[in-house]
């Protein structure tokens, strides 16, 4: 069930890269560029165990945000959004559990299937955990400019 305003869903579908921000143990925001994968209800990102510090932060504090800001990474669109939400780490099977998202991932990064076939070259890159974000609130800038106040919406509710 869709919980986000339609323009934000379009951004999530289009974005080759978004910025995941987590909060570390000292309360500082830490931002990681990642490919956002949206299934129409929840937002997913994957993290290699090589770069898994973000997972430690999420396990300690699940409050995260994902911003979509780069016009180059969203096919020239100029609107921007930030989605706040609660994240959980799914890691029952780091070897292959994440592959259920491969069809969505492949649409954005077709080369990933070729890299996966050659996983022997870099095995740990393909040992991955899933980050599942349940959206709570969204901020949307139709013109992409911080000079304009964002449209704020609680997830699943009409825009404020």
């Amino acid at each position: 069930m869709s919980t986000l305003p339609e323009p934000i869903e379009q951004l999530l579908d289009a974005a080759l890269v978004g910025e995941l921000t987590v909060v570390d143990s000292t309360g500082h925001p830490v931002t990681y560029p990642l490919i956002p994968l949206y299934d129409g209800e929840k937002i997913y990102l994957t993290s290699s165990t090589l770069f898994s510090r973000k997972l430690e932060h999420i396990k300690a504090n699940p409050k995260v945000s994902l911003s979509i800001t780069d016009p180059v990474a969203i096919g020239g669109r100029t609107d921007r959004a930030t989605i706040q939400g609660d994240a959980r780490v799914i890691e029952e099977d780091p070897h292959g559990g994440w592959e259920r998202l491969l069809p969505i991932w492949e649409k954005k990064e077709p080369s990933i299937v070729y890299f996966l076939k050659a996983r022997v070259a870099l095995p740990l890159f393909f040992e991955r955990a899933l980050i599942e974000i349940t959206p709570r609130r969204s901020l949307y800038w139709a013109d992409g400019s911080a000079a304009t106040a964002p449209v704020v919406a609680d997830a699943g509710k009409a825009a404020a």
């Binding site: 910025e19 830490v30 997972l55 409050k63 945000s65 800001t69 106040a149």
Partner: protein, 470 residues
């Protein structure tokens, strides 16, 4: 100051505030992020004016949002270049942390620390290798959480291939088969012992490959190497947590025991003291390459050990099995170009490993010599390999058709020319290392093809003279 890491090897090069701000200034906009009153991060894109010299950034206060003062916030720059139908490249990002203060309708940001990654500066594979400690930490924590060991995995076939470095068996197959073929040309051939020789020699090399990983892990050489390639830096299955140190030591032992049993069987079947001497010498060179007390590679003798082991010892060993101990100059001379070319595989592969090797105390030639000398050394050894071949033919020790191997000279030239521009770029050097492996393999196969011609003509046209002066 970089973000602290728990690993011995820093994940990314140190980035001070000035460098972080310099990088941030190169992005078209910055992503301002703070943690709101509900505890969630908020991000908004702002047009930042960066003054790296003053560790200072200003930007217009975002409309409708209250940026907190007195707490750490961050500014991030992020870049990719989309590649339609493929994905993206040119990945880089930087984050600068600091504190904000409101100055009218603008916000001033005083930077305190920075962190980032640029794949143009630290290639992705190196970044991944530098992050092995984080992966280990992840699996260790997951194991504790579940109360049972959780390890990274690889399918059995891929794991076997990676662990044993099976594709490099060509370094053994080429000289062994050549030794058998030369013996056959001289009228000595026994199929069962020929097959046993190939299998036994393959076990020796597999034992060497695995033992090399064991001793390089024990010495710290493989852990210190953050720029391994498919041709260098070992199999890394221990570093990746795919196979344990103990399992690898056990596997090396199995390979060596299997090789030893086959060697004893060949001795029993052929009864040659020469084979015993060559076999013992081969075992000593193989195990002594990295293992104490010999540790040839740590004493600056690694290249010579490999040349002797994968050249004369392999070739003459295979030859004397067939000849029942009789020796001749032909297999010895034929083994010399092979010895030099296989030595050059190791030599070039040592170039990207040289920093890790130096830290581990391995005195390889690229560790000890300057770039110009190493490149000159490659050229001298390659010229010597081909010159020996030509001289061997000229003096009638080798048959004329083996000159087919000269076809590989352009490949050797390609390697020679590729060393200079890629000397400090391990990933650029990978293609050159691949060509270098082909120089040895193709030269060996062409030597075999030359001998096949000799055997064929010997059968159908014995009056044709294929040795000068005979």
């Amino acid at each position: 100051m970089m973000v602290a890491t728990s690993e011995a090897t820093p994940r990314t090069p140190s980035l001070d505030v000035r460098q972080g701000l310099d990088k941030l200034a190169s992005y078209p906009y910055a992503i301002l992020t703070w943690v709101d009153a509900d505890g969630y991060p908020v991000s908004v894109a702002v047009d930042a004016v960066v003054d790296p010299a003053a560790s200072f950034v200003t930007f217009a206060a975002p409309a409708g949002l209250a940026v907190p003062a007195g707490v750490d916030i961050s500014l991030t720059g992020s870049h990719i270049r989309p590649q339609p139908g493929y994905g993206y490249d040119e990945r880089r990002h930087v984050t600068v942390w600091g504190r904000a203060a409101t100055d009218g309708d603008r916000i001033t940001f005083e930077a305190a620390r920075a962190w980032g990654w640029d794949e143009a500066e630290v290639p992705f594979f190196e970044y991944s290798e530098r992050s092995l400690g984080q992966s280990k930490k992840y699996f260790d924590a997951l194991s504790v959480e579940r109360g049972t060991p959780v390890k990274p995995k690889l399918s059995f076939g891929w794991l076997a291939l990676r662990t044993t470095r099976l594709p490099f068996l060509s370094a053994t197959i080429v000289p062994v088969v050549l030794g058998i073929v030369i013996a056959a040309r001289q009228g000595f051939f026994d199929l069962p012992t020929a097959i046993l020789t190939v299998i036994g020699a393959a076990f020796v090399q597999l034992g060497l490959n695995v033992a090399n990983d064991v001793f390089d892990t024990a010495s710290g050489a493989d852990d210190a190497n953050v720029t391994p390639t498919q041709f260098s830096g070992g199999s890394r299955v221990i570093q990746y947590g795919l196979v344990s140190f103990r399992q690898m030591a056990g596997l090396a032992t199995i390979f060596y025991v299997a090789a030893g049993i086959i060697g004893l069987l060949l001795l029993a079947l052929r009864g040659s003291p020469e084979l015993l001497v060559i076999g013992v010498a081969g075992f000593v060179v193989s195990i002594g390459y990295t293992a104490p007390p010999l540790k040839f590679v740590y004493r600056g003798l690694g290249e010579i050990a490999v040349a002797v082991g994968f050249g004369p010892l392999m070739l003459l060993g295979a030859y004397v099995v067939q000849s029942r101990g009789a020796l001749s100059w032909e297999p010895f001379v034929a083994s010399l170009p092979i010895a030099l070319l296989v030595m050059l595989i190791l030599y070039v592969n040592e170039i990207p490993d040289r920093r890790g090797d130096a830290r581990a105390g391995k005195r390889t030639l690229p560790v000890r010599l300057s770039k110009a000398t190493v490149i000159g050394g490659y050229r001298a050894a390659a010229i010597a390999a081909y010159a020996i071949l030509v001289l061997g033919v000229a003096v009638g020790l080798l048959p004329i058709p083996v000159l087919l191997a000269l076809i590989t000279i352009p490949l050797a030239l390609q390697v020679s020319r590729g060393l200079e521009p890629n000397y400090d770029n391990p990933y650029g050097l990978m293609a050159i290392m691949g060509v270098n492996v082909k120089v040895h393999l193709y030269a060996g196969l062409l030597l075999l093809a030359g001998y096949a011609v000799v055997l064929l003509l010997g059968a159908v046209a014995p009056s044709v003279h294929l040795f000068i002066g005979r």
